[in-house]
Amino acid sequence: MKLTRLRVEQFRAFRQPLEITGLHDGINLFTGPNEAGKSTLVAAIRAAFLERHRSGSVDDLRPRGDGSASPTVELDFSLDGTDYRLAKRFLGKKRCTLQIGSRQLDGSEAEDHLAELLGFRHAGRGASTSEHWGIPGLLWVQQGGAQEVRDPVGHATDHLRSALNASLGEIASSGGEIIDIVEAQRNELLTPATGAPRGSYAEALRRQAALAASVEALDADIATYRQKVDRLATVRREHEADAAEQPWAGFRAQEQAARARLEEARSLEAGLAQDRQRAEQLARSVQLLRSQLDAFTAEEQALERRKAALDAAAQALASARTLVEQWRARRREADARYDAARAALQQARRGDLRRSLARELDERRRTITDFTQALSQAEGAHARALAAQRLAAESAIADDDLAALREQQRRITELQIQQAAAATRVRYALDDGRALRIGGSAVSGSGERQLVEATAIELPGLGRLDILPGGADLPELGRREADLRERRDAILLRLGLASVDDAESRRQAHARHQADAATAIATLKALAPQGVERLRTDIAAQQARVQEAEQALARLQEAEQALARLPEAGADGDATRPVVEAESQEEQARESAAAVAGKLAAADAALANAQAAFDAATRELAHAQAVLDAPERAQALAASQRNLLDARAEQAALAARIDALAQQVSAARPDILQQDVERFGRSAEQLERGFSQRRDELTRLDVELQTAGALGLDERRAEAARDLAQATRRVLELARRARALDHLFGLLRNRRRALTQRLQAPLQAHLNHYLQLLFPGAVLEIDENLSPGPLTRDGGHGAESDLFEALSFGAREQMGIISRLAYADLLREAGRPTLIILDDVLVHSDGTRLAQMKRVLFDAATRHQILLFTCHPANWRDLGVSPRAIDALRAAGPSAPA
């Protein structure tokens, strides 16, 4: 089928006529932005074919707001070499004509013919819906609907099946229903995935297990119960036998007999023990007596020992005394030697002292002489110094006075010079013999005079000349000079001097006196650095020492004289001996005397000890003698000897008796008898206890069994076993049913799968043809409804299978288009018209997939006419066809050429 021309008028967005001509085989690409009218063109084609022209439910075909419009669509197409022209007008002026070659069909007839031709149905009433669309519904993909395949295929199933030319109908309808029922019933009993029991089957198994457990538990209880019953019988039998026989009575009698024999043996043992105790007492008293006798002997021996000791002590005392005498004589000698040495030492020391005193005396006397001489010289110097100091003090003039005098003299001189400069000079040269008088003083000869004040020159004879010096200040200068003179003179007067020169000379004299004083003082200092008085004191001190030395010497001499009077032999000879030697001899003598004294002391101590030992020995001997001499001692000794004899006799008798008794006891074996008593007693006790325990056990078992019996264990077990048998039967039935269902389901599924694959092979081939372009090696299964099933691809880890519904949107869209192209191929092979319309598809595909899909589309376009509408013209540029822009077509108006 090939669409060649399309004309629309008053159709939705196209109020004005729009005609598209020159549509060609293969892909026809229409482009335009959103709302340009792409989908409207698709809607026009769909309406022309699918909607009845008489339909009242197609108001939406009118342009918006134009209630009177009659949407019109005209289509030219060719099919199997025949040209068709369909013209359809809706709503206002309803009309439908179909020109087939030279034949024309009108109205419903035309529409029914088209439906038969293209493979769709018309709605009974109202607008056509997807379930009526058949093949067009599958091949004409509306915007955003490419990924939906199942429903469109469902609506086109009949046509596809007839195209497959096979009895697929049976598969999908009757067989499908049966297999669904089988599967549902199987899945009630088994889990779909693992085939594990579920639902009522699992419940039955659980019940069976629970009942089996309870039967088992009851069996255990019953076993216990039966054991107790058996035990009860056994115990009761034993108990009754015991009660009749009383086996413990015999043992009790034997126990009594053994006990009597044991008591006999025990009394024998007691007698033996008593005798043995007595024997021990005897042995102890014999021992005591023997030690008493030993004590008496010992006392006698002690007396002898004391006597010998006393003799020895006396001997020791005598020898100690001898030793003391010897040491005393030696001590006397040593003392005498020591005294002599001491006297010699004294002598030597006195001589030494006398010589030293004499030397000191000489020295001091010489010193006194020196000091006396110095003293006289120092006194002379002192007198001189005093005189010079007095003179100096008399000639002293104060520095201020001298300076004032000198200043006043200098100013006076200055004033006199000024006066001379300013004075009237009167030079004269008088003839010889002539005289005159100037200012009252006679003048002769020649000379000059300076007048500083009015002066009268009397010229004898001639009268008088009053000269008045010219300078006004002269009188002033004169006054000032006079003032100064007065003040100078006052000072001089105060000082008692005649002139300033006197003052100067006096100053010089003062200096000279001071120098003299200093010289004298220096001399004095040299002679008596610490003053004259000190010198005198020193002299006095020396004199005192001299006196002392003289007195000491005197005393020495007196002493010597006294000594000399002693009858001392050779003392004078030794008097000159050196002191050191004398000291050494004295030391030796003293040490020797001390050593001898030490020995003597030791000898004295030894003597005292010997005396003490002797005294003690004497006392002890007396004591020992007293003990022996005590009057009761002899009686005691005799008694002890008698007692000893008695005790020994009794011992012998007792030993014989003990032997006899021991033999008797040993024969009786009381230990074995004791064991017999215990053995028989215990046996009896055990039997009695066993009897009592059995009685208790009987009571206990009775109670337990009565309690357990009331539970009706066997009946409950029988009931549980009954229920278990029923449950087991149900399990077996369900297992059998489940197994049969599972088996049947497996068979049906396998058979159906094989059949489906066989029948669908042509469709599968077409599908694979396209699929290989997109996913090499992949398989897209087709289910019995001819819808795409799982897609199996070679993934990263081997074959991976995804259900169609689980694929991504993009992949589903791609698979949707591939499936449709395959259906189209199938239909075409069956001689059915195919026109493929794709409105804005593959917008969710990535670049790679889109490129592959374009190869797919291009390939399909070699067999089918494809109208492709897109708002992404750039994506489809490489399809090798020139796009038609809807806008351009509109602008061109009707009869736009291709």
Binding site: A233, D714, A725, Q726, L748
Partner: protein, 376 residues
């Protein structure tokens, strides 16, 4: 003349797990009801006494309620009952009998012989020589003492025992609790009433097994009876008459199907079952789907009439005919599956049975579908 009833093996408390719960409950209930019938019979016949030869209870541990109910069921006859314990309810040191005594369940007219000593009933003038079981199993003949037991002259000597008479039953069956053959004659008994054998059976002129009063198994052994014994005078030969007392009859039947008429016969047999019948039916042979359906319908019908009907079709091979297949409208792959299953059921053993099950199942489903479509 001494007139007594001889019964045994009541097996009170027995449960029937092989049946559906409602059926099982009725069968257990019937054991009490038949005791009541027995008591009523005894009253009606005015017998001198009733002998119960052991296995009164199915187990020692029946519930107090069951125990009490049994003795209540016996209330319909006020004359003497003489019973001994059997191997199921042996007189152990603690037993159902000691419990019954504790519960005061045993009426004064009921004599339970727990020891081997003569029981003298002055009224009817009978000396009962009982051989009660005091252990579950004994290998000694407990009736040994009968011969040596002195009984008052002029009194009937009646033995009462539970066990297997030697040489009568097949070797190896219940060989424990032996009873010497000819014991009645050897011990000078007028009659030896035996229990343990669930079918009614005469051992010798004076020795009988009464069998259980209410049938409890499918083995055809003539059970559900009570023996009515009349003895004219001591040492006279007893007159023994079995009387049906049981409520249900247990039928173990089988049929082999080969041709269509076999099915007709089977259907006729099924149609004959009534409310007293407890039936176990084993089918073998072969049949087509239509026949199978007929059998199924008939079984459903029969199950509604019989007390219990269980049909085992395990041995039946289903062979659909071409007509069957056509009728099922199972062409295409379903038809292929039917073919597979038909072929597979010929295999012996498990797989064959599985195939048969699957085939029956599929046929049922297809038949249902056809019925549905027919109705639509």
């Amino acid at each position: 003349m001494l007139h007594l009833l001889h019964t045994a093996d009541w097996q009170i408390g027995k449960q029937f797990g092989q049946f559906e719960p409602d059926e099982a409950a009725l069968l257990a209930e019937a054991r009490f009801r038949s005791v009541e019938s027995l008591a009523a019979l005894a009253s009606a016949q005015r017998v001198d006494l009733v002998l119960v030869a052991g296995d009164v209870f199915d187990a020692q541990g029946v519930s107090d309620r069951t125990l009490l109910r049994l003795f209540n069921s016996m209330a319909g006859y006020a004359g003497p009952w003489v019973m001994i314990p059997g191997n199921h309810d042996a007189a152990l040191s603690e037993s159902v009998w000691t419990r019954a005594a504790r519960l005061n369940a045993i009426a004064p007219n009921v004599h339970v012989c727990l020891t081997a000593e003569p029981l003298l009933l002055d009224g009817p003038g009978v000396a009962i020589l009982p051989a009660p079981l005091t252990q579950r199993i004994t290998h000694a003949d407990l009736t040994e003492w009968f011969a040596g037991a002195d009984t008052p002259p002029g009194m009937h000597r009646i033995g009462l025992a539970h066990g297997s008479v030697q040489g009568i039953l097949a070797d190896g069956i219940d060989s424990s609790n032996p009873i010497a053959a000819g014991r009645a004659a050897q011990a000078g008994l007028d009659y030896l009433a035996l229990g343990d054998w669930h079918g009614c059976r005469q051992v010798d002129a004076r020795t009988w097994y009464s069998g259980t009063h209410e049938t409890d198994r499918f083995r055809a052994n003539d059970s559900g009876r009570v023996l009515q014994v009349r003895i004219a005078a001591p040492q006279a030969m007893p007159d023994v008459q079995p009387v049906s007392i049981g409520q249900y009859q247990w039928l173990g039947e089988s049929a082999q199907l080969q041709v269509a008429s076999d099915i007709d016969a089977l259907l006729a047999r099924l149609a004959a079952f009534g409310p007293a019948d407890v039936v176990q039916f084993a089918l073998s042979g072969r049949c087509d789907l239509a026949g199978l359906q007929r059998i199924r319908d008939a079984v459903v019908q029969a199950q509604a009439r019989a007390r219990s009907l269980r049909v085992d079709m395990g041995g039946l091979r289903i062979e659909p005919t071409p007509e069957d297949i056509d009728a099922l409208q199972a062409d295409g792959y379903v038809g292929e599956v039917i073919g597979d299953l038909r072929a597979a059921q010929g295999v012996d053993g498990d797989d064959g049975e599985l195939a048969r099950d699957a085939l029956v199942l599929l046929a049922g489903l297809l038949d249902e579908r056809r019925a549905r479509e027919g109705a639509a």
